[in-house]
Symmetry: C2
Subunit: 364 residues, 2 copies
């Protein structure tokens, strides 16, 4: 879908919400709707047609914006949102939606003054409209996600083949090695701060790599992804250095079963909370519910965390084209933890797996 | 300064602002005031003493928060801000400041409801208080910045020594090479997306590396930095592949003169706008004012961009201990651009340079 087609889809949502236009200030949403990737921008999208659509950015981006956004008039102004509210007023727009889940209280207060001074613009809270569109990926976006996932798969395969996961290396060294290999396989950057967590550290869900040394007998949890052309992959694998102990095998089997149940629950029309429950129930029945301390997964795309949230408190149902992670974990404080995570796309005939690295317990 | 000493300094600002407490939701500020580095947290700091100080985070961080924050009681709750507003109400706090430059309109609306249900808490806008403290660095922070700058200096020296800047390589390859070398010199990660811009691309102030090939005769602009222990370095150097043309020499000499004038203007008590003007006037006098399309510099520390802004519209004066960049640039669309940037610390006896790579025009 072109940016223009996305703006067209947004217009239908604006009309349904009885808005004359939307002021888009979230830069990821600006990128989605226009193609612009600069670090300071806002976009005005009127509900009644392309006329009046405007992108604002500052003088550093004059050249870049001309190349990236050939089809929208550009306003060069440092305070992008202010410039667009004034423009909306001049265009006779009255009910102007703003991204209330993104705009800060101070920024909103400043825009209220601009609105007061520019015709009869009335600022209305309009959270999450573009996020709703972004959640459903088209085939071009799914291809981008697939490429990002492939870079992560290939990097991990390389790392293992090169003996990069071995006792004596530090978590930090392994993380740097894995990130470098993702780059060699086409990643623009890591999708987020790589987690390499060995031994007892693997029981810390969001551990950051330290100078801790990998040791025989450790569980090693690796949560990492590649960023490629704006799209993020997300995968976690956990392995053991040397022969697994019984408790490690059991823990791994439990999480693998829960992860499989979560993946199997990814069907069009299912409640997101039911997907979380499908995996969580496996862990609760094993008496480990308290040690699975986070949601099952999240949407992934232009952001590493986006709609929908697959959690017990999440709302809504699955639609075809959603890209989500499924990542149960069980963490035994002081001993070690296991998390297994894939990135998948919801399809009418079941979920398509994008992260293809195997999920058998690997003993290195 | 310990996190506890920083909270003490904050309390003086809270009392001056007639607040009973501050709700800190900006994660960088939470880190600064507590040492906690997780991705979901908020902090409550009462004005009248440490009693009542509380950190909220979610169940993923139980282990990490205990290790990182030994001296503050922890509330485990997913909606951190909500939990702390309720706690503030129970403690009898009335005038509760919130970070209105960070909290979104929707998050604020949700907290208003919590405040209504919990005693007589009144939410008051209190932007930028912690940022004001953070702008002035202590010697431990300056050491961290120095170490981050040294990693970038060493990486660039290595890259040049290894012949890594040569015709035939792509911008993307050079960026990956430089980032890898920063890691080898102790960087946890790049401080921001590395800019490598060759030939006409160097005229794009915020260019992202592409598959464009470095060619003899190109200006090559490199804007990069290292992240180390939470602190960011920021440096730009521009060089020429092969013997420089006259226009390249002249452009370089102009920017170097402006950059020197900006550095020389860094004195305690000087208006930030005057620092911008010191460099900008050099460029304006040469008739290139329109081609210097951004501010002169910015504060740098736990964030790559923080207070103060060194720009024509910036307010305030320089204090000892500020860490700032000085980075004028002149960009000739379609031909090439030069930017020269250092990270420096304002000291009573003049600015201390932290980025030590030489600034003569290098022809490789």
């Amino acid at each position: 879908m072109t940016p223009a087609a996305r703006r067209d889809a947004l217009r239908a949502l604006l009309r349904a919400a009885e808005l004359d236009a939307l002021l888009v200030t979230d830069l990821v949403n600006v990128r989605y709707l226009s193609g612009f990737t600069g670090s300071n921008a806002a976009l005005l999208v009127p509900a009644d047609g392309e006329r009046g659509t405007r992108l604002a950015t500052d003088g550093r981006y004059t050249t870049q914006v001309a190349a990236e956004v050939p089809d929208v008039p550009v306003l060069i102004e440092r305070d992008c949102a202010r410039g667009l509210v004034a423009a909306a007023g001049a265009d006779g727009i009255r009910r102007l939606g703003f991204e209330s889940g993104h705009l800060t209280v101070d920024a909103h207060a400043a825009l209220l003054e601009v609105a007061r001074d520019n015709g009869e613009v009335e600022l209305r809270r309009a959270p999450g409209l573009v996020q709703r569109l972004r959640a459903v990926k088209d085939e071009t976006e799914i291809d981008a996600l697939r490429t990002a996932c492939a870079a992560a798969d290939a990097a991990l395969a390389d790392l293992i083949a090169a003996g990069g996961l071995r006792p004596g290396r530090t978590e930090r060294e392994v993380a740097a090695d894995l990130e470098q290999r993702m780059r060699q396989h086409g990643a623009d950057a890591p999708a987020f701060d790589t987690i390499i967590a060995a031994g007892a550290n693997s029981a810390i869900p969001h551990h950051r790599p330290t100078d801790a040394v990998l040791t025989t007998g450790d569980l090693v949890k690796m949560d990492f992804g590649a960023l490629r052309a704006g799209y993020h992959s997300d995968m976690t694998r956990t392995m053991v250095l040397g022969p697994p102990a019984d408790w490690q095998r059991e823990l791994y089997a439990l999480v693998a079963e829960a992860q499989g149940a979560g993946r199997a629950a990814l069907e069009v029309g299912v409640e997101v909370a039911a997907v979380d429950a499908a995996a969580r129930d496996v862990i609760i029945k094993a008496g480990r519910g308290a040690e699975f301390s986070h949601g099952l997964g999240h949407g992934v795309g232009l952001e590493i965390h986006e709609a929908p949230a697959l959690s017990a408190t999440g709302a809504g149902t699955l639609a075809s084209g959603l890209a989500v992670t499924v990542e149960p974990g069980v963490y035994l404080a002081g001993r070690g933890g296991v998390r297994i995570e894939d990135t998948l796309v919801v399809r009418p005939d079941g979920a398509e797996l994008l992260t293809l690295t195997g999920k058998e317990l690997l003993a290195l």
